[in-house]
């Protein structure tokens, strides 16, 4: 089907407007993507197709060894696919270097620096990336306003609560405004009360900034809380992509199929 010229113009206008607002229009297309480790006979991820829409929160759900982390690592550039392509906003990044694909891993940098203000803790990575001072200031103020920590810009981490510190650590990924944010079981080692707080924080940040996000977990409850859609993985195969409301039924049918 051919798109009407007016429709294309409207889409461009919308994209410009989103960029003006600080949002990122980002889609991810994984086409025929597969992966195999060296010296192994079978694929660790069998060929699959998956499209993640702009601003969507997609959860990759499956047990350990199901291939969810490997998919994230291929998207991030840490593992080379055996076959297939990875498109971000329609651009083929399958073989691009890590720094050339605008994918950020949340909590890529964990530590908050004790002598640096919240402002500097959030902004220093942007300095490393070569952004001008005015833009860094604008981004940091924008992010802290949205997460309710603008009054703490000149505080040091020691003055903040644990949840506030965790928020700043997560916001570091957001302030970079990546096209795609990925998270690989970031709450797996947290005690229950911190886990619940962190999940809520992750969801809030993702919605606030409409970030295209892929999140790997082996916890179905977490997947249901977070995902707009859930991609189910089993032994390296994508067996279905569903809304959270029908997750239980799909898990039951996968279990039936295996028994």
């Amino acid at each position: 089907m051919t798109e009407h010229p007016r429709q294309v113009a409207d889409d461009q206008l919308l994209m410009n407007y989103m960029n003006y607002l600080g949002g990122n229009m980002s889609t991810v297309s994984l086409n025929g993507l597969s992966h195999a480790y060296e010296n192994t006979a079978s694929d660790s991820v069998h060929p699959f197709n998956l499209f993640i829409d702009d601003g969507e929160f997609l959860v990759l759900y499956g047990p350990s060894g199901s291939g969810k982390s490997t998919i994230l690592r291929m998207l991030h550039g840490l593992e080379a696919p055996k076959s297939g392509t990875i498109l971000i906003d329609g651009v083929d990044v399958t073989h691009a270097a890590v720094n050339d694909r605008d994918v950020t891993l949340a909590l890529e940098s964990y530590a908050l620096y004790p002598h640096m203000s919240v402002r500097d803790n959030l902004g220093f990575a942007l300095r490393v990336d070569g952004l001008p001072a005015e833009e860094i200031a604008e981004r940091v103020e924008s992010v802290t306003s949205k997460i309710g920590l603008r009054d703490f810009l000149d505080s040091v981490p020691g003055d903040l609560s644990q949840l506030q510190r965790q928020t700043i650590a997560l916001a570091r990924a957001v302030v970079r405004r990546p096209k795609v944010l990925i998270m690989d079981e970031p709450v797996v080692n947290l005690v229950p009360e911190h886990k619940a707080e962190t999940l809520a924080l992750v969801k809030d940040l993702q919605q606030e900034f409409a970030l295209t996000t892929l999140y790997a977990t082996s916890d179905l409850e977490d997947a249901k809380v977070l995902g707009d859609r859930i991609a189910f993985l089993d032994h390296g195969r994508l067996v279905g992509v569903e809304k959270p409301e029908v997750a239980e039924a799909l898990v039951a049918s996968i279990a039936d199929g295996e028994s």
Partner: protein, 434 residues
């Protein structure tokens, strides 16, 4: 000792199961069991602790002295404690510089029965210093650059054995003096992964994280007033990337030579030796026309000078310290005193092989220095660093006095004028300065 009830006592009074202390690699198992595992590490009594926590960590870390060791105890989740314990063990077996894992603790419960995080126990690395301490006490020029260079060497060694670190930073590293440079050790491996071989993407990711984290490390030092505000923190991260890439290229690149240029293989080996590496295995492929050779290092082993020194003398030392000692050994062999000493025992110095010369150097140069160090000064520096500092001190003194200083005289001046005035570095945590 603290009056806080031990886990055994607490377990009896409140019927709490004692924690599981597993894979213990120390003789002090019972002393470990006596620690107050039913309390969060943040609540451990001060009188139990051997020092203050490190500057930047996701976790609470405490130091305790048990037997003749200082142990670092890091509070982390059960699964994570086991995972990091295993990774550190593998790295140690692969001869990568790292702290030694001693045990891990799971199934901790408070007196009221609440689950507590697990813990990883590692041995404190004697004579090591965190980077913050080096900046607060070492005013030598370009300390930061030398630390970054040491970290680049460590990262290349980790990548050679297939270790993706995932959180490269000065904060996650400890440093030991190594002649006029530093040797870096992995101290936090919880984000790491071991692979058969790393992809380019994994190496790129480690460098990207390193560049950002090192800039953060330096910016934080500036915010704390520990380094000159004129220093460019971003340049330090860039220096790591350049230093690493240069080393990695030399260690791994495939070269093409003409079949008439076999001497270039020797040149390559010599360059690797100068960088402190040995070539364990080399693949040489001749093209179909028999005109050119493709030369690729397959196994590259670090510590070229350390291993040579160990083989000749039995002395264990860091790479640059060993280089200094081997140079001193060469000077010793060519000095007139060596010929006289050989004659005195009825030997011909020209015919004495390197091994015999090393034996004489050990007895006449190295041991007299190390044995002359009074017991109360042995905590100042490692023996290898003492030797390096002695050689430097003797050289400066000789130049100032325009004459060679006899060894025993030089040792006396070195101890009184120099060594006695240095701070103790064997157990930095004891000094409670960070």
């Amino acid at each position: 000792m603290s009056e806080v009830p031990s886990p055994a006592e607490a377990a009896t009074s409140a019927e709490i199961p004692a924690p599981r202390i597993q894979a213990v690699r120390t003789a002090e198992h019972s002393a470990l069991a006596e620690l107050p595992w039913h309390l969060p590490l943040s609540d451990w009594p001060e009188d139990l602790l051997g020092g203050l926590p490190r500057g930047i960590s996701r976790h609470i870390v405490r130091y305790v002295e048990i037997g003749d060791e200082v142990l670092a105890i890091k509070e982390t989740e059960n699964r994570q404690a086991l995972r990091e314990f295993d990774i550190l063990g593998v790295l140690e077996n692969l001869d990568v510089p790292t702290v030694a894992a001693r045990a891990y603790v799971t199934d901790r419960r408070s007196a009221s029965g609440e689950a507590l995080p697990g813990a990883l126990i590692t041995a404190y690395l004697d004579f090591s210093l965190p980077y913050r301490a080096l900046f607060s006490r070492d005013l030598a020029q370009d300390t930061g650059g030398r630390l970054v260079d040491a970290l680049a060497v460590l990262l290349a060694r980790l990548h050679l054995v297939g270790f993706y670190w995932g959180d490269v930073s000065l904060s996650n590293t400890l440093f030991r003096r190594d002649a006029d440079a530093y040797a870096a050790y992995v101290v936090d491996a919880e984000t790491g992964e071991l692979h058969d071989q790393l992809s380019d993407g994994q190496r790129q990711m480690d460098l990207r994280i390193a560049r950002t984290n090192i800039a953060g490390d330096f910016l934080d030092l500036q915010a704390a007033g520990l380094i000159d505000p004129a220093i460019d923190p971003l340049a330090a991260g860039q220096r790591l990337c350049e230093s690493y890439e240069g080393l990695w290229t030399e260690l791994t690149r495939v070269e093409e030579f003409s079949v008439n240029e076999r001497w270039r293989i020797d040149e390559r080996i010599r360059r690797l030796n100068d960088l402190g590496f040995d070539l364990g295995e080399l693949t040489v492929t001749t093209d179909l026309d028999g005109v050119s050779l493709l030369v690729e290092p397959k196994v590259v082993e670090p510590n070229h000078h350390s291993r040579r020194l160990l083989r000749l003398t039995g002395i264990g030392a860091n790479e640059n310290q060993a280089r200094t000692m081997l140079n001193d050994l060469d000077s010793y062999r060519s000095a007139p005193e060596f010929a006289e000493s050989a004659e005195a025992t009825g030997e011909d110095s020209a015919e004495l092989g390197e091994a015999e010369a090393a034996r004489k150097w050990l007895e006449e140069v190295y041991k007299p220095l190390i044995q002359a160090i009074p017991e109360h000064l042995t905590h100042k520096l490692e023996p290898g660093q003492i030797f390096y500092e002695f050689v430097e001190h003797r050289r400066v003194m000789s130049r100032a006095r325009q004459r060679d200083i006899p060894t025993m005289e030089a040792i006396a001046y070195f101890i009184v004028d120099y060594l006695a005035n240095l701070p103790d570095e064997s157990r930095y945590v004891d000094s409670k300065q960070f």
